[in-house]
Symmetry: C2
């Protein structure tokens, strides 16, 4: 490879922590174009298996819960403690509307101005599976660029929260301290993937009510997790406005990390994450080989037309195309 | 094919409307075993493209909203009007817990005793994509067996609701008439995929409050859909207990059907559904061919071990296995 090889430049730039080249690599990873996807795979391959030593924190919650502002404060807290902080903001929650509900990331402006931080909004419109794979690869790229604390911000509870949980080590659920609406959803979340509950905007006159809710949620947390794990999700009251509770949240994250390491759970998590990444890479590679096949490409439109018109069943159409693909591969 | 061919027996049985054989075919479709999957594909292929003439209704909502009881009443209403009714109850909402939140289907006992009905609970533990494909194929099997009204019952709002919406023609969102908690979720749902909102258990002392909520939701429905579609999601008050509102709900479904047919939207929907089915069948077929490949099978465990230990990146591991697969196919 010569110096003129653009991928070599990219790989070297990422390793050197160049934020602009890191951003470009993530764009390749997220691209739906076949050529970009092949380049992204090559970059990831050249970067190697990676250390997997980053601390990966999922931040989830309803729109308006204050996730971005909280990450802004918490991220600055972390950089003051010598961490290099990356934020990946993904939105796999809205398929039908096709839009992003992330809003702008201006609430992270203070974090964004620091030298050791990288912030990446990824308003995606694709399916959940694709988002998950792209985010997983973006995490790998950030770690290769030397970021050791990666926040993955996502909207919503349920399927998207669970998808993010499969990528990270700790899941923070951020809830408005005075939002009465979502209590049942929080309790459901507690029994699933949440590791730490944050009651945010617990300031001023909301403080007293927040403390009552915290007590209720602590009870629910004990019940929800019973028998699954020895970890008891702590409930932390924060205010990004007053910058209160950030020390406590940082301590809760450290405690969860210690729990993961001490119990051997982190090692198991990393293996699960790598197994999922292998499986996702295989799926993507298979689809890619199929879509680049000449015989398939030549026949696809006609077969699809027959399926759309109802003349051919989807399964029969798929079988016809798969035979072309496997024969084609066989004959050369 | 001789009469002893078990698949021929299955295909003939399904066409004749045999509920036991229909259930067996759905079990094949849902099976994670490679042999079963191949048989399922063969059955679907032999059944042909199908008429796609069934009316497919998604019924979604939180646990406890009364979906099953409502389907029980509505389904009987439909059979009295000459419809053959199938109910597929799927639960793609819970990945982490691994459990089903469907509960038992005893609330559909009255419907289950009728001769022209078929009820199938499918508590799945897999990923969303698999569930969607299985449900799509189960719908096809039910239609091949002569069921012309197919209810797909699912839990939750968000990703799972959207997955079901891609399979059906009309989406009913069932909400407790007096559940204050979920209003924000309902309003979100309105702007996405919901076609008809049902305020259920609107009986006794809950009736007055339900009417107030209905008025509020009707306003939200007008706002949520503005510009997307000419359909205004109606809000219907029902009580399965008092069996009230069922006529209105039936009329709302008929009106939505008329809207779909009149606007050309049904034809577009069917094409979308077929395109998605082709894509899903291709994905499944590719994975199946890969997993049945001898060279891949021989190397898989060692490559996976290298990936899990961190010695090999997931992308490099995937590339190695894909090369084996494509070479293997090439050499015959």
């Amino acid at each position: 490879m010569t110096d003129a090889d653009p991928l070599a430049v990219l790989v070297r730039g990422i390793r050197a922590g160049d934020r602009r080249l890191l951003a470009r690599a993530i764009t390749l990873v997220e691209s739906s174009q076949a050529g970009d996807a092949a380049e992204a795979r090559e970059v990831l391959k050249r970067l190697g298996p990676g250390s997997d030593n980053g601390i990966r924190i999922g931040v989830t919650g309803a729109p308006g819960a204050g996730k971005s502002t909280l990450i802004d404060v918490l991220g600055r807290h972390a950089t003051e403690r010598g961490k290099r902080v990356a934020v990946l903001a993904v939105d796999p929650s809205s398929v039908a509307s096709g839009g992003s509900v992330l809003g702008d990331k201006t609430r992270m402006v203070r974090l964004a101005t620091l030298p050791d931080t990288f912030i990446r909004p990824s308003p995606t419109r694709g399916v959940l599976g694709g988002t998950t794979r792209h985010t997983r690869e973006a995490i790998t790229l950030c770690e290769a660029a030397g970021y050791d604390l990666i926040f993955v911000e996502t909207v919503g509870v349920g399927q998207s929260e669970q998808a993010v949980a499969s990528l990270v080590d700790s899941v923070l659920l951020v809830v408005l301290a005075d939002a009465g609406d979502e209590l049942s959803a929080i309790k459901r979340g507690l029994s699933e993937v949440t590791d730490i509950v944050v009651l945010n905007k617990a300031d001023g006159e909301r403080r007293a009510r927040a403390e009552l809710r915290a007590a209720e949620l602590r009870t629910a947390a004990r019940v929800g997790r019973a028998g699954r794990d020895t970890w008891q999700p702590p409930v932390v009251l924060t205010s990004a406005l007053e910058e209160s509770g950030i020390e406590e949240l940082w301590a809760a994250l450290a405690a969860h990390r210690e729990h993961l390491e001490g119990s051997g759970r982190l090692r198991a998590l990393r293996q699960d994450q790598r197994r999922a990444a292998l499986s996702a890479a295989l799926d993507a590679g298979l689809k890619d080989a199929f879509s680049r096949d000449q015989a398939v490409a030549a026949a696809y439109a006609a077969v699809e037309q027959h399926v759309l018109s109802g003349a051919l069943s989807p399964n029969a159409g798929a079988e016809r195309l798969l035979e072309l693909f496997l024969d084609r591969a066989r004959s050369g």
